[in-house]
């Protein structure tokens, strides 16, 4: 009673996928049991992601510590800054990267380039040691 099935010539077409399930054939890889996870550079540079922040460098005053213009510093606030650490510091309204000198009650921020004299912190200077530099990275290309 329904007669023949006749498709309308201008009916909308619905394409159905034929490749949604991949079937593999052949011999399984002999290395399959030895698959190691690949290396993650984050894991190497960032030990504590929650307290880690990035700061790009502008200038040449830290070249002696192999920190160059355009490098991005990895700064970890969970490390307590002490004498000898390279730090990001806020001084008089500016963000600086310097080596922290803290001996015998004397505090100074020291550059790693003889062109720049040490910045001795007196009571008049506002110093905030923001965080300790734990690494740096840069894309070359």
């Amino acid at each position: 009673m329904f007669g023949h099935f006749v498709p309308l010539p201008d009916a909308p077409r619905q394409y159905l996928p034929i490749d949604s399930t991949k079937v593999s054939a052949g011999f399984p890889s002999p290395a399959a049991d030895y698959v190691d996870r690949s290396l993650d550079i984050n894991e190497y540079l960032v030990r504590n992601p929650v307290s880690t922040f990035f700061f790009p460098v502008e200038g040449d005053s830290m070249e002696g510590a192999e920190i160059f213009d355009g490098d991005i510093l990895v700064v970890d606030r969970s490390i307590k800054a002490s004498h000898g650490h390279i730090v990001v510091a806020f001084v008089n309204g500016e963000r600086l990267v310097k080596r922290l000198y803290h001996r015998a009650g004397k505090v100074a921020l020291v550059a790693e380039n003889s062109k720049y004299p040490p910045l001795v912190i007196h009571d008049g200077n506002e110093l905030t040691v923001w965080g300790v530099v734990v690494g740096r990275f840069k894309r070359m290309v």
Binding site: Q14, Y15, L16, P17, S20, N48, V50, S51, F53, F54, F55, P56, V57, E58, G59, D60, S61, M62, I67, D69, I72, L73, R77, S78, K80, V88, F90, V91, N92, G93, E94, R95, L96, V97, A111, Y116, E126, T128, W130
Partner: protein, 427 residues
């Protein structure tokens, strides 16, 4: 006995702005709402000047100039990232945590009472770690119920009890607590809004102590079971559990008012398409599909002297979807139907409704393309999350986006955008 802590960031938005901008140190800073409209956050310096929360920026512009107030636009990407970090630090202090808002979390500390030095010391540790690791100040309130923890937090913030930003009600003698509650306005209690506050005042209930000691049954009959529950919580009976998993949203709304009035349909279409892209991304983030789309547009209701028009229309979709392309196509179809020329539009929005988990969805026979659309959308979301929003986008969203909201003084994405990282000088 259950114990809760409420950890609340002080002046959160303003503190996030100050954290990366040394020139803002010791300066009064306000953060403004969308389109730089109203003050939504104030630094301690601004609070000291007596500038109230919520005041429209244009009204205080003269004061602001005189006091050197810096006004920042809302940088939600920054605040959300810092908020997530706070929660992550806190989750080391308790396995059970409820993220109550962008700057407040409840922690369950039941059974933590035997820690050396007690809970106040534990609270001080949280506070110290967030200060060290994130450079943000928080206050901690600790008590046997969530309502009391909120109140303890208020006491810590206002220095009414406790010390150094931490207030623990649990070791306090009941008489001391009563004395303290005598001095606190009932409006400070969690869940007591302005309306209820006024009605309570009419009943002679003005302080926290009076509310705590009021007859719970009477309050239930006059107000609601919610107020009754608040009273029981004030008495130390925990009635409100920690809500650890936020339920999936049943509706997702994305709407904004525009930087200036929009007359042109094309501009309106771009705005709607762009809101839909955002809403759809949220929809996919909770792994759901929407079964209906609503679009609404309206003129500026605050200018009744101009011609007014508003309209909202919802359409059910033939197949539930999370595909931005499909959702946008429907939204634009609706928009074209409701758009009328001759009006200056002030706000538009989209809403996704009839939301259900993707996994419970059965693809209909004639919607076999859906798995491939899912894959495409995953790629789009991935690129946007990695490289910044709006990189791959639908052309319908427009390029110029003249209608965009004003964010005149937006700080960079210090922690969320490679191009916005804060530079340090090596000089």
């Amino acid at each position: 006995m259950s114990v809760f802590a409420l950890v609340d960031c002080n002046n959160f938005y303003a503190s996030c702005e100050k954290l990366f901008a040394p020139r803002l140190k010791n300066r009064p800073v306000v953060v403004l709402s969308n389109n730089d409209g109203c003050v939504v956050a104030r630094s301690a310096e601004v609070k000291a000047l007596g500038i109230p929360m919520g005041v429209p920026w244009f009204k205080i512009k003269d004061d602001a100039r005189r006091h050197g107030i810096v006004a920042m636009s809302s940088n939600y990407a920054l605040y959300a990232d810092m908020s997530n970090r706070v929660v992550e630090v806190l989750s080391a202090f308790s396995p059970n945590i409820e993220v109550y808002s962008i700057d407040e979390s409840f922690l369950e500390l039941s059974g933590f009472g035997n820690l050396p030095g007690g809970l106040a010391v534990y609270g001080a540790e949280m506070r110290q770690r967030i200060a060290d690791w994130l450079g943000l100040a928080v206050c901690v309130g600790i008590a046997p119920t969530k309502t009391l923890a909120k109140l303890a937090n208020h006491c810590a913030k206002k220095n009414l009890a406790g010390a150094d930003g931490v207030c623990d009600f649990t070791p306090l003698h009941p008489d001391d607590l009563t004395q303290l509650f005598d001095r606190i306005d009932v409006g400070e209690v969690w869940g007591i809004g302005r309306k209820i506050n006024a009605r309570l005042a009419a009943m002679g209930i003005n302080t926290v102590r009076q509310l705590r000691d009021a007859d719970a049954e009477t309050l239930r009959s006059r107000f609601s079971v919610v107020v009754e529950r608040t009273v029981r919580e004030l008495r130390g009976l925990s009635c409100i559990d920690l809500q650890e998993v936020t339920p999936d949203k049943q509706q997702i709304i994305s709407s904004r008012s525009f930087g200036q009035l929009i007359h042109d349909r094309v501009d309106l279409e771009e705005a709607v398409a762009s809101y839909m892209a955002k809403a759809a991304e949220k929809l996919r983030a909770q792994d759901s599909l929407a079964g209906a789309v609503q679009v609404y547009i309206r003129t500026n209701i605050f200018k009744p002297e101009t011609p007014q028009y508003q309209r909202a229309v919802t359409v059910p979709l033939p197949d539930a979807t999370a595909d931005t392309r499909v959702l946008t196509a429907w939204a634009l179809r609706v928009l074209r139907r409701i758009y009328r020329t001759g009006y200056g539009y002030h706000k538009a929005g989209v809403m996704l409704a009839d939301i259900a988990p993707r996994l419970s969805q059965q693809y209909s026979l004639f919607n076999a393309g859906a798995p491939r659309a899912d894959a495409l959308m995953r790629v789009v979301d991935g690129i946007n999350q990695r490289y910044g929003r709006g990189l791959p986008q639908l052309a319908a969203e427009g390029i110029e986006q003249d209608w965009r909201m004003r964010r005149g003084n937006l700080s960079p994405g210090y922690t969320t955008d490679w191009r916005g990282l804060p530079k340090v000088k090596a000089q």
